[in-house]
């Protein structure tokens, strides 16, 4: 069965430092992959997506992610974290039928000053 794994439950990063959130997927074919962010009291906001083509994708708020088929990974990165980036981050993959998203458990990001 398809699955998405986010190994890190909670990460703390200093403001201005770089960030990498890990995501691994299990999927037989070319996956459609997403990163969502959820701030307290808000819905899930799409940060970026990968369908095909260039394996480095740019998203909103200065985020990027790199698809690595050999590692079954789709890690989210940001070169310099801002305090407003503190939130919960979800990696997701589209199921084979293209009808539903399969989510990881999420990673909570805290930003220290």
């Amino acid at each position: 069965a398809q699955s998405v794994t986010q190994p890190d439950i909670h990460i703390t990063v200093s403001e201005g430092a770089s960030l990498e959130l890990r995501c691994n997927y299990s999927y037989g074919a070319t996956p459609y992959l997403f990163w969502y962010v959820q701030s307290p009291g808000q819905g899930l906001q799409l940060l970026l997506k990968y369908f095909s083509g260039d394996t480095l994708v740019q998203g909103i708020k200065g985020f990027e992610a790199e698809f690595k088929r050999s590692q079954s990974s789709f890690n989210l990165r940001k070169p310099s974290v801002h305090w407003s980036d503190a939130a919960e981050y979800f990696c997701a993959a589209l199921n084979q039928a293209g009808t539903a998203l399969i989510f990881g458990k999420g990673t909570t990001l805290s930003v220290s000053s």
Partner: protein, 114 residues
């Protein structure tokens, strides 16, 4: 910017009661979804809805659950007889069409069953 809205933001109900969670998808979207997240667990797919019928449902979506689009704007999730284990955050989402694959989520309704 158009967004998905959900009401109420928090619902408390007693076990065995019926609840209806409401969602207003983005107006030109055609596909609608419900997901839930039990505290500390993954966001899980419940059901997708298109053209006034369920297009896919997960094993979680049993006979206690139903969905409806009662008018041109609302999309509802009904739980007929709530159980303690139904306590979760319920997210509604919508997408413009199948090929876009981008689902836009609402802020969620926190359901607490006591």
């Amino acid at each position: 910017e158009p967004e998905v809205t959900q009401t109420p933001s928090h619902q408390v109900t007693q076990m065995g009661q019926e609840v209806i969670l409401r969602c207003v998808p983005i107006s030109n979207h055609l596909y609608f979804y419900w997901y839930r997240q039990i505290l500390g667990q993954k966001v899980e797919f419940l059901v997708s809805f298109y053209n006034n019928e369920i297009s896919e449902k997960s094993e979680i979506f049993d006979d206690q659950f139903s969905v409806e689009r009662p008018d041109g704007s609302n999309f509802t999730l009904k739980i007929r007889s709530t159980k303690l284990e139904d306590s979760a955050m319920y997210f509604c989402a919508s997408s413009r069409d199948r090929s876009s694959y981008e689902q836009y989520f609402g802020p969620g309704t926190r359901l607490t069953v006591t």
